[in-house]
């Protein structure tokens, strides 16, 4: 039973989603327990995956017993296990958070919400674990389509924002499909491991190089890398609370992971170093994303929108780390760290921001006066995450920046060091504004309805947020202590990168 975990981790949420659709139709109360059941199975399977990788190293799983490269295979290596654990845990926490907020925001559609939510998780876990290019496309669309529908269930502009997201996202998926087609024409294979072995002889081929460009642009759209980000702020802002939490953390990070997987597992380091030296351009694009994202964030008064722009800047951080990976001994360490760090921080921030909306329907930062006293714990979670992101040691943001600066110095990219410092200053500007209004300004406190006492969100929403807030410091300490360095080293050597961090 235990060695079937790669199949179980994808099938469990899928089956749960079907059950939720049929049973939830009759009884709405069943939807949430079923979803939690499915997600708990995912969390356990992810733990088994981590354990198996740590003990026996990378493993593979053949679906239906078909030998790769003909059959579809699931591959579990260190990075896969790491992402499986991250996404299933975030999915679980976001689900706990979602229960109350969905009951308030979408009272008629509870079971449909959970059906789509579980489909989204199925797609994400599938993207992470699959070892087949076309299978990845299908699961990418499973995740994206349920994502569009979930975003559209929000209020105000949500359907329009979701339609934009859908059209732009479909262009991205089509580009990825074209890239697969080119690779298939050149090699006749769709299996990632097989492609990795077949491609080196064909690196000179224009077809393969074009395939790389198509795939990169396709994913750049999906992860909202700077010039291709236009769908993202509206989608994050108008989506229902629980959806904002999950798409800003698990979904965004999974797509980044897929890009890393294809760059380093399919095309490998040799290709990007010798044949198509695009990483300079990627670094610059990421640097622009960091600065522009932060500047836009300063201009926003809508808290969710500000966080959305901040996400664009943070995706820039991850892509900058990916871009620096081939030219420094740290390899992918900063990128992998920031995938976790940003998921934890942004999850916490969106949980807090949506908590303010849940209780007082407050979107605008300028109306936050006195919130620090009315919702002390939610505000505390927000502040923990904000401090961690700005880079207060030992928060996770500090660790990311420390490693990124080290990588940039090693790669002699002094401009990127300046970019990281500048973005830190910009982050201080936009987060300080929130903290200042919440705690220090008191003159307009009377705006908040319902007396002067503490008026917190329900515990099921508060605890996940606070938990992530605390995690954002715990993980900082864990990263600094070096407990996980052998693990990070294993990820890097798996891709033929760098040495020990």
């Amino acid at each position: 039973m235990l060695h079937q975990f790669p199949a179980i981790i994808v099938v469990a949420p899928l089956i749960a989603s079907i059950f939720i659709f049929f049973f939830g139709w009759r009884n709405k109360q069943l939807a949430f327990p079923l979803a939690m059941g499915g997600l708990s199975v995912c969390v356990v399977s992810a733990a088994v995956a981590l354990d198996s990788v740590l003990r026996y190293g990378p493993t593979q799983y053949q679906l239906g017993g078909w030998q790769p490269p003909w059959g579809i295979e699931f591959r579990v290596d260190h990075l896969t296990a790491f992402m499986l654990a991250l996404v299933s845990l975030l999915g679980w926490l976001a689900a706990v958070y979602a229960k109350k907020s969905v009951e308030q925001e979408l009272p008629e559609k509870i079971s449909l919400f959970w059906t789509l939510y579980m489909l989204l998780i199925t797609g994400l876990l599938g993207i992470i674990i699959t070892g087949d290019m076309f299978n990845l496309f299908v699961l990418l669309e499973v995740a994206s389509l349920s994502g569009y529908a979930l975003v559209a269930s929000g209020r105000d502009k949500a359907p329009f924002a979701s339609l934009r997201y859908l059209i732009i996202g479909t262009i991205g998926a089509s580009f990825y499909l074209i890239g697969i087609g080119y690779l298939y024409v050149a090699t006749g294979s769709l299996n990632m491991e097989d492609l990795r072995m077949l491609l080196p002889d064909l690196y000179g081929s224009r077809v393969v190089q074009t395939a790389f460009v198509f795939i990169f642009i396709g994913f750049a759209i999906k992860i909202a890398l700077f010039p291709l980000h236009s769908w993202q702020p509206d989608a994050y802002t108008y989506a229902p609370s629980a959806v904002s939490v999950i798409i800003s953390t698990a979904v965004a990070k999974t797509f980044v992971y897929a890009l890393i997987r294809i760059i380093f597992s399919v095309f490998t380091l040799g290709f990007i170093k010798e044949i198509l030296p695009v990483f300079g351009i990627i670094c610059w694009a990421a640097a622009v994303a960091i600065i522009i994202g932060s500047i836009f964030a300063i201009n926003q008064y809508n808290l969710k929108r500000m966080l959305a722009y901040s996400s664009i800047a943070n995706v820039g951080y991850i892509i900058l780390a990916v871009g620096l990976a081939p030219s420094s001994s740290l390899g992918l360490t900063p990128a992998v760290m920031h995938i976790l760090n940003h998921a934890v921080i942004k999850g916490c921030m969106f949980m807090a921001a949506c908590g303010f909306i849940y209780r007082y329907n407050l979107w605008d930062i300028r109306q936050f006066a006195g919130l620090g006293r009315r919702m002390p714990y939610t505000s505390l979670a927000m502040i923990l995450a904000a401090l961690a992101m700005i880079g207060m040691p030992p928060g996770v943001g500090f660790v990311t920046k420390w490693y990124l600066i080290r990588a940039a110095l090693e790669a002699r990219g002094y401009v990127f060091v300046a970019v990281i410092f500048a973005s830190t200053l910009l982050m201080i500007v936009y987060f300080w504004r929130v903290i200042e209004i919440m705690y220090i300004r008191t003159e307009k406190e009377a705006i908040l309805p319902g007396g002067g006492g503490v008026n917190e969100i329900p515990a099921s929403m508060l605890v996940p947020g606070l938990f992530l807030g605390v995690l954002s410091f715990v993980f900082g300490i864990v990263w600094i202590s070096g407990t996980l360095h052998p693990f990070l080293g294993a990820i890097n050597t798996g891709f033929g990168l760098g040495g020990t961090p």
Binding site: L145, P159, L163, I171, S174, L177, Y184
Partner: protein
């Protein structure tokens, strides 16, 4: 001239796919009507599907069905006699994805129309700005 003709005619399937893809992208970018945008999106997806279909084709090859398959195990099957079925099978899945995308897109268009009573993008943006 001959080289040009060769490039155009011998790879006509790629040209068709590129032209269709550009029409699709043009529709998405230039048209203001949301339904026309979605039609553009669908043309783009169809272009990719046709590209995949065309790469399976071979000269002088037939459909990949082995006659009397059950007792043909000892007669060798020559791959060049049959067109490559794999891209076609992949596209069955891609068509399903495209249909699902179209369905979600049209649903969203209906919701947008209920909300703003128009499908012209500029009018919708105007209404959003007014609100």
């Amino acid at each position: 001239m001959e080289v040009l003709l060769d490039v155009l005619i011998s790879r006509v399937n790629y040209w068709v796919y590129i032209v269709l893809m550009m029409i699709g992208l043009y529709g998405i970018i230039a048209k203001k009507n949301l339904v026309k945008k979605i039609i553009g999106m669908n043309i783009l997806q169809t272009a990719v599907i046709l590209f995949f279909i065309s790469i399976g084709a071979k000269k002088n090859a037939t459909i990949p069905i082995i006659e009397h398959g059950h007792d043909a195990a000892h007669t060798a099957v020559t791959a060049t006699h049959y067109i490559n079925p794999l891209p076609h099978v992949l596209m069955l899945t891609a068509i399903v994805v495209a249909v699902a995308t179209l369905g979600v897109a049209l649903t969203l268009v209906i919701k947008v129309h209920q909300q703003y009573h128009t499908l012209e993008e500029n009018e919708i943006l105007e209404r959003i700005r007014e609100a």
